[in-house]
């Protein structure tokens, strides 16, 4: 009951003020304003950290460290991006530190995701090389499908995983992502495309296996 009242105060606080007012108050030392900002973003930061690390304990550590770093550096936030975008940058730095021990591989070149390198072979009349998924929901249980997707995301090299998640799960623009990951717009676009192609490739192979062995 006490906790609910406490939480309600933050929610009320958040709705009574816009984000820039909350940031100004937080930068002036108002903990309740900062808490309202935390409450608005904590689940998103956790979800991103969990998808980046695939490890709930690491994700919890990242959330905690992200908000502690935000406190340490709150006066450095100048409002050039949304507060949430600034938090994503901090969270991704934390995630990279957690993933630093993992061997990072690169993805194959974009053109290698096409089924054949030879244009003639690709367009021979009636020849189809790509596996058509149709509707995976009709073929597989939700849980089976979820496992395939989670594995595909987890297997992406970190720099592609973060670009994909920021673009399609957090729905940030390419320009916003390029600022967060400190890459050019062209390089960010390329990372997002390669991540999507690699995921498609991984999911396609897994579905082809499942459709063949488990589905009548």
């Amino acid at each position: 009951m006490v906790k609910a009242t406490f939480l309600n105060r933050f929610i009320l606080y958040f709705y009574l003020m816009n984000e820039s007012e909350l940031i100004k108050k937080a930068q002036a030392g108002d903990f309740e304003a900062f808490s309202a900002l935390v409450n608005a973003s904590k689940n998103k930061i956790y979800a991103l950290a969990l998808k980046m690390t695939a490890n709930p304990q690491d994700a919890e550590d990242i959330v905690q460290d992200t908000f502690l770093k935000a406190i340490d550096n709150i006066e450095q936030f100048r409002g050039e991006s949304a507060f949430g975008t600034w938090l994503y940058s901090i969270a991704l730095n934390q995630a990279r530190a957690h993933l630093a021990k993992q061997k990072q591989t690169d993805l194959k070149p974009i053109e290698d995701y096409l089924p054949a390198r030879s244009a003639e072979e690709l367009h021979r009349e009636g020849v189809v090389h790509l596996f058509d998924w149709k509707d995976p929901h009709q073929k597989l249980e939700d849980e089976q499908l979820r496992t395939i997707i989670d594995n595909a995301i987890a297997e992406l090299p970190a720099k592609y995983r973060e670009a994909f998640l920021l673009r399609y799960i957090e729905e940030l623009s390419i320009k916003e992502i390029s600022k967060i990951i400190n890459e050019s717009v062209a390089s960010t676009k390329s990372r997002v495309l390669r991540a999507r192609l690699a995921l498609r490739d991984h999911i396609s192979k897994a579905l082809e296996d499942k459709y063949g062995t488990e589905v009548s």
């Binding site: 903990f31 959330v63 690709l122 790509l130 058509d132 998924w133 997707i149």
Partner: protein, 82 residues
Amino acid sequence: MGRKCLDYINDLNDYLDGELDPSLCEEIEKHIGHCENCRIMVDTMKQTVTLCREGKPEKLPAALEDKLGGILKARWEKKFGK
């Protein structure tokens, strides 16, 4: 005609995200109309994002939720004072 598949692949995200120039969109749609591989590529790339977005939204675990406020408050007071 065949080399067009390689040409189009770099534009597929912009096309699927609705950020491609309309004349190029038209060109891609025309190509998809007679290239089964590219039709499947476009359809499955679209599904890739849809499938990744599915699933219940993750929420901060209750145990961390309970202690996070206290941890942040302690750091806050260290920085700004009580």
